[in-house]
Every structure is written in structure tokens, then in C-alpha cells.
């Protein structure tokens, strides 16, 4: 029983971070119908940023989010404006390839600049944990979970209560209609991509105390982000949140009961099942 509870709790905590990645991707897809294959690499940039802020200026990773979020927002907006915007109308396949290319450029530039040495960010609390009823809870993971919750709540408020937020949702719902209503959809796309990038970067910052950093770390996260977004329903933030946690738990428990090597397969099988039987996801909104 303890093993089950332990894996459940760990899965939920890790799932929180996954959720953040998924939310970012789902926003991008919702607004632009672009599947961002470079999403994991945006996370990677967030990790590197956090790492250097920590080693050079001694800024705690959880505090550096305050810097990472706006920086990544600007970067995401730039990517959208200069590259992605040009292919918005074309074949979705081309869009995918473009983001793949951008991802390759990002991860390899980082490799060139910083070498592929694995970097570990060790804070004073990286190894701390506390015990509740025989279950150990990692302190840094708990803090990331809490911060993720705050960010998600803030995002939700932004999308529901502010004008820009509502404009973004309108664009996601029906791009042409939104345009007819006078919404500058191009600008919405830029903001959406910026948001997605900043969330990915924030996720990177949040897991850096418990993970390791290297240029190719993005690819595993990109795949997971896809699974989460589809599971939750492309374009649904609540869906992505639930999806993230679900995937975290599935991975964790699957790892225990099927053996650690089959963890990924559990996730992918889940993915295929969702695609086949409920392709619009848990909170499905869009058409397949």
C-alpha cells in the first residue's frame, strides 16, 4: 500500500510540472493550430537560463521565474513573428517541420555554446524531503507544484477576466469570426506563442533543482507535452492541467507495476487509446 501511495504522490507532484508544459502547448495549438515540436526546447532554454542565473548571480531557481517568464515571452513572440507567422496558412505538415527545424537549431546552438556536459543545479534544498505517514515528499517538487498552481490560477484569471485574455480565447474558438469582430488575430498569435514559451520556460525553471540540464533534454518533454495536450483536449487549459497530472501518475504507477523500462510505453499506449476512442480528449473542444 505504501508503494502505491508513494508512487501516487510522487506522480502528482511531477505531474504538476508536466501540466505547465502541456498548458503552454495547448494554448499555442488552440490559437494557431500549430503543433510546436520545439516546445521541449523552449523548456530547455528556461532550464539553461535558470542555471546560469543561479551559478553566476546566485539567484534561487524558484525566484528566477520572475525573470525567465518575461524573457521567454519576448523570445516566443519573436519566434512567432519572424518564423511561424509565415507558414500559418500552409500545410500543417510544413508547420510541424518548421518547428522541428527551429528546435534543432535551438538545441544545437546551446550545445555549441555550452557543450553537452550535463549540468546539475544543486540548491541547499535539492535533496531535502519530509515524511508524512511513511511517504516521503520531495521539498523542491512540492514547491514547484505550489508555484505551478499559482501560475495556472493566474493564467486562468487572465484568460477569463481580461480583455486580451478573452480576445485570445475568441481567436482560439474561431479565428475568422474573431477577425471579423475586429480582433487583431496576428497579434493574438504572437501573444499566444509568447505565453506558451514563457510557460515552457517556467516549467524548465521549476524542475531544474530536481533534474539535470543538457541540450537535448527537450525532446522527451515535447513528446510528453503532446500526449498531455491530446489527453486533455487540444485548446483546453483545464484539460492540460488534468492531463499533466494524469500522465505523471500513470508514469509513476506504471513504472512500479510494469517495470521502469516500460514507463514510456504506458504513456504512449494511453495516448493512442485516447486518440482512438476519445480524440477530443477529456475536456474536448476541437475537431480531430
Amino acid at each position: 500500500m505504501i508503494i502505491f501511495m508513494q508512487s501516487l504522490i510522487s506522480g502528482i507532484l511531477v505531474g504538476g510540472v508536466y501540466a505547465l508544459i502541456g498548458i503552454g502547448m495547448t494554448i499555442i495549438f488552440g490559437v494557431m493550430r500549430v503543433i510546436n515540436f520545439a516546445h521541449g526546447d523552449l523548456l530547455m532554454l528556461g532550464m539553461y537560463g535558470t542555471f546560469y542565473l543561479f551559478t553566476l548571480f546566485n539567484i534561487d531557481p524558484f525566484i528566477s521565474i520572475v525573470v525567465i517568464i518575461p524573457l521567454m515571452f519576448l523570445y516566443g513572440g519573436f519566434l512567432q513573428k519572424v518564423f511561424i507567422n509565415r507558414i500559418l496558412g500552409t500545410l500543417p505538415q510544413n508547420q510541424i517541420l518548421l518547428t522541428i527545424g527551429l528546435g534543432l537549431v535551438m538545441s544545437n546552438s546551446v550545445m555549441l555554446a555550452f557543450t553537452s556536459d550535463y549540468k546539475i543545479l544543486s540548491t541547499s534544498y535539492s535533496s531535502s524531503s519530509f515524511d508524512i505517514l511513511g511517504i516521503s515528499i520531495s521539498t523542491p517538487l512540492l514547491i514547484s507544484f505550489a508555484i505551478t498552481a499559482v501560475i495556472t490560477a493566474a493564467l486562468y484569471w487572465f484568460l477569463l477576466k481580461t480583455d486580451t485574455g478573452q480576445a485570445i480565447r475568441a481567436t482560439a474558438q474561431d479565428r475568422e469570426a474573431a477577425q471579423l469582430m475586429g480582433i487583431n488575430v496576428k497579434r493574438m498569435s504572437i501573444i499566444a506563442f509568447g505565453l506558451g514559451a514563457s510557460l515552457a520556460g517556467a516549467a524548465g525553471a521549476l524542475i531544474s533543482p530536481t533534474y539535470y540540464i543538457f541540450p537535448q533534454v527537450g525532446s522527451t518533454f515535447t513528446l510528453k507535452a503532446f500526449v498531455i495536450t491530446v489527453l486533455g483536449g487540444m485548446g483546453s487549459i483545464v484539460g492540460a492541467t488534468l492531463g499533466g497530472i494524469l500522465i505523471g501518475v500513470a508514469e509513476s504507477i506504471g513504472g512500479v507495476y510494469f517495470g521502469a523500462g516500460w514507463k514510456e510505453v504506458v504513456v504512449f499506449v494511453l495516448f493512442l487509446l485516447v486518440l482512438l476512442f476519445k480524440p477530443s480528449g477529456l475536456m474536448g473542444k476541437s475537431n480531430v
Binding site: I2, S116, S129, V256, A260
Partner: protein, 385 residues
């Protein structure tokens, strides 16, 4: 007086050939300069750099042909081909990974070019009756056996849990451990192979903790090693000993994480404080020149290059002679005694003595076998602080 003149004259005559003609040799060096194994590949590159300096001092001028295999077997093969046929090198040192080494070992036979493998550990490589391939380092099997030998010498462990990453190295390490544990009468209570790159091992570790193993045997690279130990501490896993088979556990980066690295054992091909000729000096020079401690990869690469170049200088341009000289020669350098022999199904394999280090207070100390040590091992694991 006359004798003095004679002796001086003799000395001069003998000295002149050595100083007047620096022997020139062309050696190929294939390595993972880029790609996922690049960080370790760097150690090999640096080791070779130091070797070239020392060879120059001995009057051997090495023209080094460098090739990058990016960790991929087909690129390693292309590189070997190029060096053997276009560049016409005397012999080749490298590569780093077992995957690549396996692929080019057969090419050495085909192109009749001596290949000296510094550190790829997969057993198969020198079990194929290949006459032109030589290996300096011990095999994966030895990584496991020495740790278990030590553990059974220090205590009476009855059970063992094995955790490994499901890569080539990890899988063969786990296999060796399982096999040898059986021979030693230690029961395997858990075997977990994980895919590298997942942040969370807590469930695996909890599962293992519930089986209460006396020994925990791990095969991982640095990053996973750190995470595994961090999480082991978190969930309070306390076996009699943590045994790390090379790779991640032998690095400085791991040792520095004092909160979680203390008292962890790791098996290694070489340490900076072992008392083999020139080892400590090599360690010092490496730190002075490159600003960090060498791993055993650096030491094996250094010694491989030294052996290959010195032997090539004596053999002239003749690859056959070079092969013969490698087979019949023996050396004693920073890697201890080296002799390429055929035994127990191995061909041209050096019976390299593995070492065990233990991290004490953030620093690796050689603790086994007793003949080569500087410190005594701490056993059993005293628990987490």
C-alpha cells in the same frame, strides 16, 4: 682518463641518433567529440593531448589524424576507413563507446590496421578472435566482479538489488552483476532497468526498499546517479553498501554532491591516487592543464596513445611489425602493467586490474584491492546524515 673519453664518446654516439632524428609516426584517433557522449569524449581528447606532449619529449613526433564519430557506429566505420586507407596511418586509437568499437573491430581485421581500444568495455569486442584489435581496459564483467568481491570480503551480504539504465553499458553491467552474484551465493531480490532521462525514480526505489536488500548495485551515468542517490536518501534506502559500477559514480561531479555521495563505492579502471608509475603525476598535470580532474577515460586514452606511438616508432612504417610488437610487448605505466594476451576466450585483451573507490567527504579514495590503496573502506553504510 682514456676510459672517460671512451665513455663520453660512447654516450655521445648513442645520444646522437635519438636527438638528431625525432621519429615520426602517423596515428589515427577516433572519438566521440560531439554527440551525447561528448563530455566523456573530451577526457579522451585531453588524455591524448598529454600523451603527445610526453611523446615529443621522448623524441617521437606524432602526426595525429583526428576523427569524430558522434557516437554513431556507421560514422566510426567511415572514420576508420578514411584513416586506414586515405590517411594511411600506422595504427588507430579509439573509439570511446562500445557500440562504435564493436563496429570497427572487424574493420581493423579487414584493412589490417592495428586498433587499440582504450576504454570500451563490452566483452564481445575481444571475444571474436580478431588479431588486429587490442583492448587496454577491463571489460564490463570486471566492473561488477570487483565490487562483489570487495563486498563479500568486507561483510556477509545475502541479497542484492540491481538498478541500471537500459543502455548497452547499463544492461551488460546488470547482466554481469546478476551472473556473478549468483556465483557468490547472493540472491537477486530486485532488478529494475530504467530509461535514462526520467526525473523520478522514487517508485522504483520504494519498491526496492521494501525488499530490504543488503547491497544496491547501480549502473548509471552522472546525472541519473545523482538523482538516484538524492531520491534514495529521500525515501531512506539504507543497504549495507551502495555499489556503483563505473560511469556516473566515478566522476568528480557526483562526488561533490556530499549530501548524497558519501560512502558510495564505485568500480573504476583508474584513480588519481593509485600507486602505479606516473599515475599521481598524470593526475596533477591534467588538473593543472585542464582545470579539472581526469576520469579513467583520460588515463586509458593517454596510455593507449603512448603504447601505440612508441611501438609504431620502433616498428617503422610496417603495420605487420606494429601488430606483432603490440602482441609481444609489455608496458608498465599509469595504467599499471599492460600485456595483451589471449585467455579464456579473449584475444589481445589486457588483464587490467580494476580498482574500487569510495567517496569519503566528497573525495574519491582508492580503497580496494588492498595492494594499491590509500584509505580503508567504510562498510557497512552508516546511514544518512
Amino acid at each position: 682518463m682514456f676510459k672517460k673519453i671512451q665513455v663520453t664518446a660512447l654516450a655521445l654516439i648513442l645520444a646522437v641518433p635519438v636527438t638528431a632524428h625525432a621519429a615520426k609516426v602517423k596515428i589515427g584517433f577516433v572519438n566521440s567529440i560531439t554527440g551525447p557522449e561528448a563530455p566523456i569524449g573530451e577526457n579522451l581528447t585531453n588524455g591524448v593531448t598529454l600523451a603527445l606532449e610526453d611523446l615529443k619529449k621522448k623524441g617521437i613526433d606524432v602526426e595525429l589524424v583526428r576523427e569524430d564519430d558522434t557516437g554513431k557506429p556507421e560514422k566510426s566505420m567511415a572514420a576508420f576507413e578514411k584513416m586506414a586507407t586515405r590517411d594511411k596511418v600506422a595504427g588507430i586509437v579509439g573509439p570511446y563507446s562500445s557500440k562504435c568499437a564493436n563496429a570497427i573491430a572487424k574493420l581493423a581485421e579487414k584493412y589490417k590496421t592495428p586498433l587499440l581500444i582504450p576504454v570500451a568495455s563490452k566483452e564481445e569486442i575481444t571475444r571474436q578472435n580478431l588479431k588486429w584489435t587490442f583492448r587496454l581496459s577491463a571489460t564490463t564483467y570486471d566492473y561488477a566482479t570487483i565490487l562483489l568481491d570487495m563486498a563479500t570480503g568486507l561483510g556477509k551480504p545475502k541479497t542484492i538489488a540491481i538498478i541500471n539504465e537500459n543502455t548497452d553499458f547499463g544492461t551488460s553491467g546488470a547482466k554481469s552483476a546478476k551472473d556473478y552474484a549468483g556465483k557468490k551465493g547472493i540472491r537477486v531480490v530486485a532488478e529494475e532497468a530504467y530509461a535514462p532521462g526520467s526525473p523520478d525514480y522514487r517508485s522504483i526505489l520504494t519498491k526496492i526498499k521494501s525488499k530490504n536488500p543488503d547491497l544496491v548495485f547501480m549502473v548509471s551515468y552522472v546525472a541519473d546517479a545523482i538523482l538516484l542517490m538524492r531520491q534514495s536518501r529521500e525515501i531512506g534506502l539504507t543497504p549495507q553498501a551502495f555499489l556503483g559500477a563505473g560511469a556516473g559514480f566515478a566522476t568528480v561531479a557526483f562526488a561533490k554532491e556530499k549530501a548524497i555521495s558519501n560512502d558510495v563505492f564505485s568500480s573504476t579502471q583508474w584513480t588519481g591516487d593509485v600507486n602505479w608509475p606516473g599515475a599521481k603525476e598524470f593526475n596533477r598535470r591534467y588538473i593543472a592543464k585542464f582545470g579539472k580532474e581526469p576520469t579513467y577515460h583520460a588515463a586509458t586514452a593517454y596510455e593507449s596513445m603512448m603504447i601505440m606511438a612508441e611501438t609504431a616508432a620502433k616498428a617503422g612504417d610496417n603495420r605487420d611489425k606494429l601488430r606483432f610488437a603490440l602482441k609481444s610487448g609489455s608496458w608498465n605505466g599509469i595504467m599499471g602493467e599492460v600485456k595483451f594476451a589471449d585467455y579464456e576466450g579473449y584475444t589481445n585483451q589486457n588483464k587490467h586490474q580494476m580498482l574500487v573507490e569510495q567517496i569519503q567527504n566528497g573525495v574519491h579514495q582508492t580503497v580496494y584491492p588492498p595492494k594499491y590503496v590509500s584509505k580503508k573502506p567504510v562498510y557497512p553504510f552508516p546511514g544518512w546524515r
